[in-house]
C-alpha cells in the first residue's frame, strides 16, 4: 500500500468513526417545579417488540400488557404502595368464611363505544377465561372459582370451594366488553387489533411494526387524563431507542445499567431527561438441582452461598444498580422479611462448612474432593441474557478460590428448557423469576409441583414449606399472611435451595417536560393519568 492509500484510509476512518462532533441538543431551560397542570401534548414511548394482541386474554407479552393497561381496567388494582384498591369495583366484601367475594361496581362507567359497563361484562369475561376453547395462559386463577354470579347490574359475586387468598388480586384482570365479543370466535375478533375498553386511553390506530396510538378518554371515570396522546413506537433495538431518545424522538425509555451510569451522565442529557431508579419485580438466582448427590447436603449449598460475593456481582454486572436478594420477594414490599439468614462473602466459612461436609483437598490438586470424587459441577444458563452469563463467570472465579471447579454452559432458550431444565439434566442453573405484588409462591416451591414441566424443577421438598404455602393461600388477613411468609423466607434462607443473587433496578428516563411523576414502590406509571406538560412547554399541538 502506498502513502496515498494509507492517507485515504485514514481519512475515511476519521469521517466514519473517529471524528469528534459536539452533541446537538436543544437548549431548554430547567423546568419550573410549580407550573400548573394543562391538557394536551403527546407522550412517546418505545416498545422493544410489536405487541402481539390487544385482547388481554390472549396476550402474554409485555408490550401488549403495557398498552392494554391503559385501554382496559380490572375490578381491582395495586396502588402506588402495592396495596389493592378498587378500580371498576368501588368496594368489595369478603364473607366471614373467606369463601365469597362480593364486588360492588362503579356506576356510570362506559365502554369507549358508549355502551354502559355492567356486571354482565364481568361475568362474561370470567366465563371466557375458563372456557376450554379460549387459548389463554391466564385461566388457572379463575378455575379455582366454584360459582360466579351477577345478581344485579352493579354487583358481581364469586364463590370459592376453599379460601384462596390470591383470588382478590386475580380480579385485577382486564374486563372485556360482552356486547362486542359474545358468541364470536375470540381468536378472530377485530378487538385484537382495535381494542375497546373502559380505561383512561382509547385506541386510535396500529401501524404494524411501526406504532400504536392511543388518545385520552375524555369521559374517563377517574377524570380526563392530562396527556392527550400516547404513542408506542416499535423500536426493536436498544441502541436505536437510546439515540431516538437523545434526538427527541422518544420521551421515555428503560435504560440499561451502562446507559444509566456512563452514557447519560452528561449535563445535556440531564437537562432534558429525568432518570429514575427503583427495584423491579424480579430476581436472579443460582438454582441447585437437589436430585444431584453433590448438592443435596444443605451445608454444601450454604458454603456455596458464602463463597459467592453477591455484591461483587451487582457491582460488576449491574454497575451497582440493584440489591442483594435474600429470598423470592423484593425488599420494599410488605411481605419481605429482612431478618432472614444472610450470606455475606466469607470464603473461610465456606471452606469450614465444606470440610464439615467431608470435602477436603486430599490430593493437593487445588480441587476439593471426597471419597476420591472431585467437587466439579456445571452451571447452565440461557443464551441472550448477558447479565446471567457474566454472573456465572464471576461465580466461577469465586468458587475456584475455595477449590470448586465450575464449568459454564450457555444454551439457546428452547433447548435450555427442553434438554436441561425439564428433564432435570443440570447441576445448577442461573435463571430469574418475575413476580408481582401477590406473595403466593405455591407453583414454584410446593413439592406437588415437582412433576414434568412444572416449576419446582430443582426438586425442592420441605413439608413445612408445603404447609406454609397452603396456609398462605388460604389466609386473607395480611398480618397473618405476613407471619406465614416470614417463616417461609426463613426456611428458604436456611435451606439455600437457590443462592439468591440480586434484584435489579428498573431505570427509566423520562423527558423533563412531563410533571406530576411520583416514584413509588409500584414504579412511576401508577399515576400516569395525572402526568402533565405545562402549557408553555408542550411540544406536539396535535
Amino acid at each position: 500500500m502506498n502513502r496515498t492509500t494509507v492517507l485515504a484510509a485514514l481519512f475515511l476512518l476519521a469521517v466514519l468513526g473517529l471524528g469528534g462532533c459536539k452533541e446537538r441538543t436543544a437548549e431548554v431551560a430547567m423546568p419550573e417545579k410549580d407550573a400548573p397542570p394543562a391538557y394536551g401534548d403527546t407522550f412517546i414511548e418505545a416498545s422493544i417488540a410489536e405487541p402481539s394482541n390487544l385482547l388481554p386474554i390472549l396476550a402474554t407479552d409485555a408490550s401488549s400488557a403495557d398498552i392494554n393497561g391503559l385501554v382496559y381496567n380490572g375490578l381491582v388494582r395495586y396502588n402506588k404502595d402495592l396495596i389493592l384498591e378498587g378500580e371498576l369495583a368501588e368496594s368489595w366484601e369478603i364473607s366471614p368464611d373467606n369463601l365469597t367475594i362480593t364486588f360492588h361496581l362503579r356506576k356510570g362507567v362506559k365502554w369507549h363505544d358508549g355502551t354502559p359497563f355492567t356486571s354482565a361484562d364481568v361475568l362474561f369475561t370470567y366465563r371466557l377465561y375458563v372456557d376450554p376453547n379460549t387459548p389463554t395462559a391466564y385461566a388457572e386463577a379463575y378455575r379455582q372459582v366454584e360459582k360466579a354470579e351477577a345478581p344485579d347490574p352493579y354487583t358481581f359475586r364469586v364463590t370459592y370451594p376453599k379460601p384462596y387468598a390470591p383470588a382478590l388480586g386475580s380480579w385485577g384482570m382486564n374486563i372485556l366488553p360482552k356486547h362486542l365479543l359474545e358468541g364470536k370466535d375470540i381468536t378472530k375478533s377485530p378487538l385484537s387489533r382495535h381494542p375497546v375498553g373502559t380505561g383512561p386511553y382509547r385506541f386510535v390506530e396500529w401501524k404494524p411494526g411501526e406504532k400504536v396510538v392511543l388518545e385520552a378518554n375524555e369521559n374517563y371515570f377517574e377524570g380526563r387524563p392530562y396527556i392527550k396522546r400516547v404513542v408506542y413506537r416499535i423500536v426493536p433495538d436498544q441502541s436505536t431507542q437510546f439515540m431516538e431518545l437523545r434526538s427527541g424522538g422518544l420521551d421515555f425509555m428503560e435504560l440499561t445499567p451502562i446507559q444509566y451510569r456512563t452514557q447519560t451522565d452528561t449535563t445535556a442529557f440531564k437537562r432534558l431527561f429525568a432518570k429514575y431508579r427503583y427495584l423491579a419485580f424480579s430476581y436472579t438466582y443460582l438454582g441447585y438441582n437437589l436430585e444431584r448427590p453433590l448438592l443435596q447436603d444443605r451445608r454444601v449449598r450454604q458454603a456455596l452461598s458464602y463463597a459467592i460475593d453477591k455484591q461483587e456481582i451487582i457491582e460488576g454486572v449491574l454497575l451497582g444498580l440493584g440489591q442483594v436478594a435474600t429470598g423470592p420477594y423484593k425488599p420494599d414490599t410488605w411481605v419481605y422479611n429482612a431478618n432472614v439468614k444472610r450470606y455475606s462473602h466469607d470464603p473461610d466459612r465456606a471452606r469450614r462448612l465444606l470440610a464439615e461436609a467431608g470435602w477436603k483437598d486430599t490430593d493437593g490438586d487445588g480441587i476439593l474432593d471426597r471419597d476420591g470424587v472431585p467437587f466439579r459441577f456445571t452451571i447452565v444458563t440461557n443464551q441472550g441474557n448477558d447479565l446471567r452469563v457474566k454472573s456465572a463467570e464471576i461465580i466461577q472465579r469465586r468458587l475456584k478460590e475455595i477449590g470448586i471447579e465450575v464449568k459454564i454452559r450457555v444454551v439457546e432458550w428452547a433447548t435450555f428448557l427442553k434438554e436441561f431444565i425439564h428433564p432435570g439434566n443440570f447441576d445448577a442453573c442461573i435463571l430469574g423469576w418475575r413476580g408481582g405484588p401477590e406473595p403466593d409462591q405455591y407453583n414454584i416451591w410446593h413439592s406437588s409441583k415437582i412433576g414434568p414441566r412444572q416449576l419446582n424443577f430443582i426438586h425442592y421438598r420441605n413439608s413445612e414449606v408445603d404447609e406454609l404455602l397452603e396456609r398462605g393461600r388460604r389466609t386473607f388477613d395480611r398480618a397473618e399472611r405476613k407471619k406465614i411468609y416470614d417463616r417461609f423466607q426463613e426456611i428458604l434462607a436456611e435451606d439455600q435451595p437457590y443462592t439468591f443473587l440480586y434484584v435489579a433496578e428498573a431505570l427509566p428516563a423520562v423527558s423533563r417536560r412531563f410533571r406530576g411523576i411520583e416514584p413509588a414502590p409500584a414504579g412511576i406509571f401508577h399515576n400516569f393519568i395525572r402526568w402533565y406538560v405545562p402549557a408553555g412547554e408542550q411540544k406536539y399541538a396535535r
Partner: protein, 324 residues
C-alpha cells in the same frame, strides 16, 4: 424458447414440494413449540393448559399428517393463521410487510448498480491508478464493516449530532398531516440511511466483480481485434467490452431476487423498519410455524423465479443457449 420455458416451469413443482417438505421437517425438529411462549416457566399456566393449546393448534397430531394438511391448504393458496398472539392470517401479515422490504431492496440494488458498475469499469480501465487504489480501500472497508456498526455510526453522527436525517422508522410523527410533497420528502429522509447501509456491503462486492469481469474481457482477442481495426476507444469499451462484461451480472441479479423478500434482519431491526426480515426472524423465535412456512414458500418461489429469469436473460443475451 417456449418449450424450454414450459419444461423449466414444470420442473419447479417437485422442487418446490421438496423445499417445503424439508423446511417443514427441519422447523419441527427445532426444540420448542409455539405454545412455549405462553406456557413455559409461567406460574399461571398448568400442564393441562399446555396440552389444550397444543390440541387447538393441531400440534398433537403426527408430523406427516400436519404436513399433508398444510400442503392441502397451500394448494388452495391458504397460508393459514399465525400461531403467535395475534392469530392473524399469515398472508395479511406478509403482504403488510412486503412492500417496504421490496422498496428498500430495489432502491439499494439500484444504488449498487448505478454506483458499482461505473466504479468497477473505471477501476479496471485505470488499473493501479489512485482512483483504483482508493476504491480498493473503500471496498475492503465495505466488506469488513459490520452493517449494524455502520448503521449505529451513521445514526449517531448524521442523526443525533448533526440532525440531518431521522434516526429510525419510516415516517415522522404527524406524517399524515403533511402535504403530498412533504410526505414524499419525509419518506425519502427516512430511507436515506437504511438504503445506504443495506447497499454499502453490496457496493463493494459488485464493483469488485465488475472490475474483474472488465479486466478479463479487455484482455480478449476480439477487443484486440476491435482496437486493431481502429475503432475509437469509447466504442471498444462501451459497446464491445461492456456488453460481455455485464453478462455474468445477470446471474447475480437473478440470485438477489429472494433477497427482496428475505430482507435484512439487521438493518430492519436497527432502523426500526417494519419489513419481512424482522417478521421472519420473530416468527422463527416464536416457532410460528404457519408464518415461517409462508415466508419460506414465498422465498422459495422467488428464488426459483429469479433463477428462471436469469436463465431467460441469458438465453436472450446469448443465442447459443437458446439453440441448445
Amino acid at each position: 424458447m417456449l418449450r424450454y420455458l414450459g419444461k423449466r416451469l414444470l420442473l419447479m413443482i417437485p422442487l418446490l414440494i421438496g423445499i417445503t417438505l424439508i423446511s417443514f421437517v427441519v422447523i419441527h425438529l427445532a426444540p420448542g413449540e409455539p405454545t412455549d411462549l405462553q406456557t413455559e416457566l409461567n406460574p399461571e399456566a398448568s400442564v393441562e393448559l399446555r396440552d389444550r393449546l397444543r390440541a387447538q393448534y393441531g400440534l398433537d397430531r403426527p408430523i406427516h399428517v400436519q404436513y399433508v394438511d398444510w400442503l392441502g391448504r397451500m394448494a388452495k393458496l391458504d397460508f393459514g393463521r399465525s400461531f403467535s398472539g395475534d392469530h392473524r392470517p399469515v398472508l395479511d401479515k406478509i403482504l403488510e410487510r412486503l412492500p417496504v422490504t421490496i422498496l428498500i431492496n430495489v432502491l439499494s440494488i439500484t444504488l449498487i448498480l448505478v454506483v458499482a458498475i461505473p466504479v468497477g469499469i473505471l477501476s479496471a480501465l485505470r488499473r493501479n491508478s489512485l482512483f483504483d487504489r482508493a476504491t480498493t480501500v473503500l471496498v475492503f472497508i465495505g466488506f469488513a464493516m459490520p452493517s449494524f456498526w455502520l448503521a449505529l455510526l451513521m445514526m449517531d453522527y448524521l442523526g443525533v449530532r448533526l440532525g440531518l436525517f431521522p434516526i429510525a422508522g419510516l415516517r415522522s410523527l404527524g406524517h399524515e398531516y403533511l402535504s403530498t410533497f412533504g410526505q414524499v420528502k419525509d419518506y425519502v429522509a427516512h430511507l436515506v440511511m437504511p438504503v445506504f447501509v443495506s447497499a454499502f456491503g453490496g457496493l463493494a462486492g459488485f464493483s469488485r466483480y465488475m472490475r474483474s469481469n472488465m479486466l478479463e474481457v479487455i484482455r480478449q482477442d476480439y477487443i484486440l481485434t476491435a482496437r486493431a481495426k481502429g475503432l475509437p476507444e469509447r466504442v471498444v469499451i462501451w459497446r464491445h467490452a461492456l456488453r460481455n462484461a455485464l453478462l455474468p451480472l445477470i446471474t447475480i441479479l437473478g440470485l438477489s431476487v429472494p433477497g427482496l423478500i428475505g430482507g435484512s434482519v439487521i438493518f430492519e431491526t436497527i432502523f426500526a423498519i417494519p419489513g419481512m426480515g424482522k417478521l421472519f426472524y420473530d416468527g422463527v423465535m416464536m416457532r410460528d410455524y404457519p408464518l415461517i412456512m409462508g415466508v419460506l414458500v414465498l422465498g422459495a418461489m422467488l428464488t426459483l423465479v429469479g433463477n428462471l429469469l436469469a436463465d431467460i436473460g441469458y438465453a436472450l443475451a446469448d443465442p447459443r443457449i437458446r439453440k441448445s
